[in-house]
Symmetry: C2
Subunit: 463 residues, 2 copies
């Protein structure tokens, strides 16, 4: 046994993309490309994994990408297209003709091929489908008929179905002889005469069982299965909750249609987490690779909504013009109340959005959760009221101003706790993704309440 | 082949936690618990998966949880502890004595057992370790010697090592006879006489190969491996990039130490995504289950920092008290400039933080990225300057005021683009997690610049 402490600086390089595709390699490839040494470009890239090549293509400029794809096209592993960022993939597919894309699709699993073809512009898709052999075209069209982001889209049809009347020996012999059985089979699925799912057998279990044993003796019938129309978020939940490597997909009659593998689910989990993060900030997707105009367009709607709420908040201030003229300190201090409320509300909101996404927050514990956040808002409100009140009293030499701003802070932090939980819960109940629109409503409320409470109390008590 | 359109409303229920542990079931269990019908409580819970039981324990109040654990203890699957939220797990472990915990740890994989024991309070840990048999204690202590969040902690030691001089037949016979081989083996790992990793063989591949073939003929030597000290974020990257189901872990001499399975990586991916989301909002973790005082304490630091920057922004406004007294419209409008800047900056910041986390943003494309965000800021600045300027001119009947606020908006949105990319890139370069602290700096900058640009320009041009 080696001493872990000594392993801190390993001699073995990690096989991380960042290590695989070094800046030096990117520069090297671009140098060869510019020099027109196409063969050497292909050789330099040949040793990379599909993810590595995808990564390389993402790192370079649009112009370089187009040239690189033209050179690499004949030798490229089609998995590379699957691994590419969406924006970059659109660009790369644009540089390929229908025959190239069809050839790539034929080498991919049905789910990946369908996803690739689905992303093509409408005018290009028929040509690519037409370039495919009839049976593969049929398979892909069947997948594309399922709703986007459903289990039907994620599943692959390549799987091992075992008739329930077979013995272990028959299965083993069949596996040995089947010409195109993939190596990475982990579970065998047992089906009855109507094609309905009976259960699964892990390959390891089968290997350890004697040949004459009927498969029904070792089949595990208590396995989760997913309806073909299940949303991908639900798929991710099931994989997480049951720690699955693969999960069978069935139709409404329990007939086995396909299998979803965990690596596709990892992508879904990444995607869903990213969606929440981006939605809260008002960004449509990670647009690192989108061009300037796309980015400007995609960010504008959120800023527009924000501008609308900012004008509403301003109109609240406008009602107190007279008071501000008399006591200009009000103008100096009012952003503090609004800002504290916005931040405290965002904390509650983020926890609520994430807890709704992971399923930790449900109707069963919603009331307790809102109550807790209200109390947290009240307690933080008290502490910060004292702090802000004292600083203000010292700064402006006016304890009454300090008392007013303190009261406004308590008020706004309680409202922030209520709005930060109530808004996402309400949107969720209405079937709207709480990540997308919560933030706008929240800051609108904490700004308006912040200004109103502070200026209103000041007008009432000080002037 | 069934018609997908018909499958929209499946008869098969999805095996989702939310469906498995219904509010009715929670109420039912609590009713039985209150009535003291312990046996029936155990029966009601017996059919649930460990995730389901964990979910049930999370849904109830602290008091109910304590009672429920006392009743369920004898029949509980130890996996349940692994599936629990951290805060809830601490509470549950607190209700168990050392012997119970040791008994649970013995039934878990080494990695899960070590994680469980690591989480115990310092005073309880020695007693639990002492209650374990010497060999299992040794295994767990070895795992705990690896740094937290490293591959060494994630790996399990249960794996199939095959000597490189064996034939396929020998391996199959050994698998058939080994008394405690787990069913869910997917890859066999081939090692040389010194225990160094030679490569892996997928179980499916082995099954399809004739018995006399030496394993070295079918071993895949080009498989990724992870150094035992690799950080869990790197582990996740490798699994994602190579679409792995399992990955061997080696020491600095390439000796095989263990294997990481994809289900543990799914948890890591979830955790990392959650960390980014929470850090950006200034929340330490999803504290749905934390009590009020814990939550108040964990949220306070961020609000304090925010308060500090709010006072700085206020002091900027304070410098223009005279101007605001003369033209109170300045006080009414100034939050608009700050708010637009803050939101535009957050958009750029969130994209940058996520792109840094996924490795899409690197030194190779950092300059291009900053340049793009500056341009986006400038273009959005122009559009919003026109919009805000026109509305302001109409509202206050003063086109010069409109021109000034427009100019301030352009200025603040360009600064927002620069700060939203520059801050996370800078923090990342200094080795600080950009998600944790970017937000504070960003809003400090956009508030100060927003107020300064608008009030400064107004003082200079209007008064």
């Amino acid at each position: 046994m080696s001493d872990p402490a000594k392993d801190e600086a390993p001699a073995t390089p990690a096989v991380d993309m960042i290590d695989e595709v070094t800046p030096a390699l990117v520069r090297g490839v671009l140098g060869l490309l510019e020099a027109g040494r196409d063969r050497e470009v292909q050789e330099a890239v040949a040793s990379l994994t599909p993810s590595g090549v995808a990564w390389l293509l993402e790192q370079v400029s649009s112009e370089e990408r187009r040239l690189l794809v033209a050179v690499l096209k004949p030798t490229l592993d089609p998995e590379t297209y699957v691994e590419l960022d969406e924006t970059v993939r659109d660009e790369v597919l644009d540089a390929l003709d229908s025959r190239d894309i069809a050839a790539a699709a034929r080498q991919l699993d049905t789910d990946d091929a369908a996803a690739l073809i689905d992303e093509l512009p409408d005018e290009k898709r028929p040509a690519v489908l037409a370039a495919l052999p009839a049976d593969e075209r049929g398979e892909i069209e069947r997948v594309l008929a399922y709703p986007e982001d459903s289990a039907g889209r994620l599943m692959q049809r390549e799987l091992v179905k075992v008739p329930s009347e077979w013995t272990v020996g028959q299965v083993i012999d069949w596996c040995r002889e089947a010409p195109d059985l993939p190596d990475d089979v982990y579970d065998l699925f047992v089906v009855d005469a109507e094609g309905r799912l009976v259960g699964s057998i892990k390959l390891g279990r089968m290997l350890r069982t004697k040949r004459p044993v009927p498969v029904t003796d070792i089949v595990d019938p208590d396995i989760p299965s997913l309806p073909v129309s299940a949303d991908q978020e639900e798929v991710a939940h099931v994989f997480r909750d049951h720690n699955l490597v693969s999960c069978p997909v069935v139709d409404s009659e329990q007939r086995l249609l396909g299998v979803i593998m965990v690596d596709d689910v990892v992508d879904v989990i990444d995607e869903e987490a990213e969606e929440d993060l981006m939605s809260l900030a008002g960004v449509q997707q990670v647009d690192v690779y989108a061009d300037v105009l796309q980015t400007v367009r995609s960010r504008m709607p959120w800023l527009l909504v924000n501008l609308g709420t900012a004008f509403i908040a301003s109109s609240v201030i406008g009602r107190f013009e007279g008071e501000i003229e008399k006591l200009v300190a009000l103008a100096v201090l009012m952003p503090i109340v609004a800002s504290l409320g916005g931040n405290a509300g965002t904390q509650a909101l983020t926890v609520a959005v994430r807890a709704l996404a992971t399923g930790e927050l449900t109707r069963a514990n919603a009331l307790r959760f809102v109550g807790k956040e209200l109390t947290v808002g009240g307690l933080n409100g008290l502490s910060f009221a004292v702090l802000v009140g004292v600083v203000t009293s010292l700064w402006f030499g006016d304890w009454r101003l300090g008392a007013v701003i303190g009261a406004a802070v308590i008020c706004n932090l309680v409202v922030a706790g209520l709005a930060g939980t109530g808004i996402p819960l309400g949107l969720n109940r209405m079937g709207i993704d709480p990540a997308v629109s919560s933030g706008v409503f929240l800051t609108a409320i904490t700004d308006v309440v912040g200004f109103l409470a502070f200026l209103g109390l000041a007008a009432w008590l000080l002037l």
